[in-house]
């Protein structure tokens, strides 16, 4: 029941957050400041073949975009085929834009907006110039018309980390590892080195964010210290599952355009549970107390796919159980270990 509640709530969080995030991604609004010029700002304006247009470079955590606003002053419908567009950098590197519609039409006298994105944020690394071109036609003029704009990077401004690095602002994390060390009462009640399993979500606004985490160490209890649950014979093999449900502050810093390092710290509820080995239900003893969690890790995010963004990482964790008694034995103490993380970003 508990795990069902937990999973249901995680899904609830995911659905709401996904809605919030994707809702914001309808039209990318963050300008790429370092590609903005003092004279024209972030916009390039022009007029050709009866089309008045504005071209802007924008970005989100997921991608860099070219946004096209246009006003059709002709008496015919204008047809764009964004996939025939061209994104050409100053060093000659050419990219075919990712498109979100195969064809865009703007009726006579109307206005319209659409955007395309760059295949990779890292396309911008080391670049100083960019030419954007999207052809269009009308029924009477089938060729020779294109929206065209040229952007220069402001040499006084550094490369924007958010421009060249593709980092999800909302990350799910599924991890598996092992406990390495326990101290105090926690070490006495545990037999051997338990596994460690984690499930967490984190949301960021640039470097700062918060996390919600569930880390559990399923292992064996030291039966010489931990008394069996009522009705269970002494000497019966016992399982000890201890873990934390925590939430708190998360800070991330960028090591390179694909590597990120994060530090998480927050309070939580520490739970230790003893039950008979091999029996998931039945007699058990549980201790619940105030806990703390801190984690430091690094992860690599792969280029984004249609499904989202996957990553791999390694995390060192430290769980602190401040109090608690389990069958008469103290369960407080530190628990430290490592986790190999599989990440999925939106």
């Amino acid at each position: 029941m508990r795990s069902i509640n937990f999973l249901a709530t995680i899904i609830f969080i995911a659905v709401i957050s996904t809605g919030c995030i994707t809702g914001r991604m309808q039209l990318p609004s963050e300008e790429i400041d370092e590609w903005s010029s003092p004279e024209s700002g972030p916009n390039q304006l022009g007029e050709t073949c009866g089309l008045v247009y504005q071209v802007s470079l924008r970005r989100s955590a997921a991608a860099d975009y070219v946004v096209f606003f246009s006003r059709n002053t002709t008496k015919e419908t204008v047809f764009f085929k964004p996939k025939d567009g061209k994104l050409e950098f100053g060093d000659g590197k050419e990219r075919t834009p990712n498109v979100y519609a195969q064809e865009i039409t703007i009726p006579a006298g109307q206005k319209g907006v659409f955007f395309v994105s760059f295949p990779e944020k890292s396309d911008f690394i080391g670049q100083t110039g960019l030419t954007v071109e999207i052809p269009f036609h009308t029924q009477s003029k089938m060729e020779g018309c294109a929206i065209s704009a040229h952007f220069n990077k402001d040499p006084k401004k550094p490369e924007g980390e958010a421009t060249i690095s593709d980092r999800s602002d909302f990350l799910f994390d599924l991890s598996l590892g092992s406990n390495l060390l326990k101290t105090g009462g926690a070490s006495k009640i545990t037999s051997g080195k338990p596994l460690a399993v984690g499930l967490s979500v984190a949301a960021y606004s640039k470097h700062d964010g918060f996390f919600f985490d569930f880390t559990i160490e399923p292992g064996k209890a030291n039966t010489s210290v931990v008394a069996p649950p009522a009705g269970v014979a002494a000497g019966t093999a016992l399982e000890l599952d201890s873990g934390i449900i925590a939430m708190g502050y998360s800070y991330r810093t960028y090591l390179s355009h694909r590597w990120t390092m994060n530090f998480d710290f927050g309070p939580g509820v520490f739970i230790s549970n003893v039950n008979v080995a091999g029996q998931s239900s039945g007699n058990s003893v549980q201790a619940v107390s105030f806990g703390l969690e801190q984690r430091v890790g690094a992860y690599y995010l792969f280029p984004r796919s249609v499904a989202g963004q996957f990553g791999l990482g390694l995390t060192l964790y430290n769980l602190i159980n401040t109090a608690g008694k389990l069958s008469g034995a103290s369960s407080s103490g530190d628990s430290a270990g490592f986790l190999v993380n599989i990440k999925f970003g939106l």
Binding site: S17, L45, S205, V288
Partner: protein, 164 residues
Amino acid sequence: MTLKQPIACVLLSFAMILFLDSCAHPSWLNPEYVLDKFGNLIVSNIEQASLLKKTSGHGVSSVFKFTVKNTGKDPVSIKGEKSEITFRSTKIPLKCIKSLDKSAPFVLAHDATVHVECAISIKADASNQLINRDTVAALNVPYEIAKTQNTIQFKIYLRAEDFK
């Protein structure tokens, strides 16, 4: 634990929504972009360059920005010093803080582009009445071309709740 856990998770969900919502910029809504041509001037969409700020009393202020390109052969004089916002028949001066911030008109040559930022500040009692309903205000930037007077005009939407 069976109850505490889902309650804590739901509270977390609300915290997350608040966190994500805090990323959104409160703004004077501009539901449709206004990219347009005024004579030979192409004028970009107008966008908010700063968050809304509450001023003393029931007032708000913000900075708007836009780009203008002169595609004609004649130079254009943009009169930032005479810019204003018309709000319920009341004219309030617009304080341009970038490009049009001089007392003399800004001369935009052929094929030149200028990026402009102007601050607007409105008090709810500017027209001697509290703002209690949404309204539309016009942002007027006069310009002169070959001694002919014209005006670039943007419409912005003011929400009553922003003044409370």
